[in-house]
Amino acid sequence: MTKTTPDALPAEGGPGDGPLLAVDNLHVEFQTRAGVVRAVNGVSYTVGAGETLAVLGESGSGKSVTAQAIMGILDMPPAVIPKGEIRFRGTDLLKLSEDARTQVRGQRIAMIFQDALSALNPVFTVGWQISEMFRVHRGMSKADGMKKAVELMDRVRIPAARQRVHDYPHQFSGGMRQRIMIAMSIALDPEVLIADEPTTALDVTVQAQIMELLADLQRESQMGLILITHDLGVVADVADKIAVMYAGRIVENAPVYDIYKAPAHPYTKGLLDSIPRVDLKGQELYAIKGLPPNLLDLPSGCSFNPRCPYRQDNCVTDAPPLYEISGVRSSACHYWREVLDGERQ
């Protein structure tokens, strides 16, 4: 491992030309008793300052593993990263020493999780936990840290922050806990925020509050936001661009408007078509046939081929590369033209 030197760290702020964060051909494998689980097989995406990238996928698609690799919080072993780069302001995070990564983790790239209750420590007050960020990373005193905690709780719109700063996590509702998580994650003004299913555990009305809050915070600070979700509705609401993942690969990359208008991968198209729609009430829903693949034993060729209505012979033999459709769009389907022109259900 390289020794920690100040110049090993990615440059602060500055007018970077490239994207803020770029994941490039990332592979993550898990060595298990039953064999090698290829959770991530060559994922590439980028996110710029002030931009929202939605990573859409089902459980097991590798979307969370990719995020954990970015954060450097994968358990290694069993996880192994055989290939790939994660460039943050041009510096490959995977080549940094553990010390240097700690400088980045939580301070410059932060993450919020689905389950805010288990992510918070039940035996400390929320104020203590938020102010810990300042005490540990900024060397602030207890009193100053608490003052900052109240400020942050105000910023994430927790009512009566001054009083509630002394409460424990279980005394808050699910939505409020998620706000506390958000407060902790933005405490040190990160440049990239990764939100892993931040609203999945919440009710719709609370989900709307949280998504609005995230959008506001992003506008204020120009963070790059990576939103990991399986919810096509949430994506349509907030994302600038989308990376659709299936079986550890990106199958489609596109700006949000394009993808909903005309998906270029059969999986994306299937997902969009299976959303219940008013004008189709009473009819059978379109359903993608079959089951998500077994990561231990991926189908040959294109991973989606057993479930794909567009399948031809070469789909079983040749894995499709990510075909470039336009400067901002790509699809990992040999027949993306047909899919693009195809009727929406």
Partner: protein, 326 residues
């Protein structure tokens, strides 16, 4: 419990129906919820545990020792041609003689063959250990299921009751029972009863806790919704899902009971002569230990190895069945 090994999906073939019949790993679907999630073929608790156990040298070693002990207690003749119950095999004039070709471990205070007595002593240890374990597991397990399932008054009363038993130091309690009823029943039976009376609350606690965890699962609610009665829910649904920790405790306890038997026999309230027991042999040899240490050392070593083997096996089973307890 038999479990067919799940076939590995040969990469989804043609999906004729809406649902493919190929089995996929559910593990990745629960990503994040369970630690074992990442990969790994779906395997049931027992297949997993068996896989794990086969790879533990400690487990294999303890199983080998236990198998030898079992053979020893059922067919001691296989190990020695001397019958220690036959008084003619003893010869006072050879008392405390050291090892010789015919008498590997030498002779004890009465000139009997220590090797033969040690071999024959295994039977009582094993019988007492196994029977006590069976009784405590059945009694404690049954009470545990009922208390865990019923909750409320039944649970409160039986839990308070077990706390009373927990308050009694086990050896002291067993000593009291064994000494009080000494001579009124077969000495071996008495040891079993004394140990079982004080041993069952442990199993009760474990079972009750496991049942309470299992009870909250949806499949129990589903069974109630189908109209299943208490018996069916307890024995068809709760028992198979909470028996694992009980098995672990039973194995570990078995070793403990064997040690406790030796202790009681040593104190003179356990197995009585002419029956043979390691504890008894140790007690007999104690007086002349400095002169002739071997009659004490051999049964003591056998006792230690036996107890250790069961505890080791219990440890391995626990690690395999419930890694969280480690």
């Amino acid at each position: 419990m038999s479990n067919p090994t799940p076939p590995v999906g040969p990469g989804l073939p043609e999906t004729q129906t809406m649902v493919s019949d190929t089995v996929t790993a559910p593990a990745p679907h629960r990503q994040g919820k369970h630690k074992q999630a990442k990969g790994g073929k779906p395997a049931s608790l027992w297949t997993d545990a068996w896989y794990d156990l086969r790879r533990r040298p400690m487990f294999i070693l303890s199983v080998v020792i236990i198998l030898i002990l079992l053979v020893m207690s059922f067919w001691p003749q296989l190990f020695t041609s001397v019958d220690p119950f036959n008084a003619r095999t003893c010869d006072l004039s050879t008392a405390r003689q050291g090892p010789s070709a015919g008498h590997l471990f030498g002779r004890d205070n009465l000139g009997c063959d220590v090797y033969a007595r040690t071999i024959y002593g295994a039977r009582n240890s094993i019988v007492i250990g196994v029977l006590t374990t069976i009784i405590t597991t059945l009694v404690g397990g049954l009470f545990g299921i009922v208390a865990g399932y019923k909750s409320g008054l039944v649970d409160s009363v039986s839990s308070r009751l077990t706390e009373v038993f927990f308050a009694i130091p086990p050896i002291l309690g067993a000593l009291l029972i064994a000494a009080t009823f000494r001579g009124r029943a077969n000495s071996i039976l008495l040891v079993i009863i004394a140990l079982a009376v004080l041993g069952w609350p442990m199993t009760y606690r474990i079972m009750r806790a496991a049942v309470i965890t299992a009870k909250s699962q949806d499949f129990v609610v589903a069974a109630r919704a189908l109209g299943a009665g208490a018996g069916r829910i307890m024995f068809r649904h709760l028992l198979p899902n909470s028996v694992a920790p009980v098995i672990v405790v039973a194995t570990i306890n078995l070793g403990g009971f064997i040690a406790a038997e030796a202790a009681l026999s040593f104190l003179g309230v356990g197995v009585l002569s002419p029956d043979i027991s390691w504890g008894l042999m140790i007690a007999d040899a104690r007086d002349r230990f400095l002169e002739a240490p071997l009659p004490l050392i051999f049964p003591a070593v056998f006792l230690c190895v036996t107890v250790l083997a069961f505890i080791m096996m219990g440890d391995a089973v626990r690690d395999a069945l419930d890694p969280k307890l480690r």
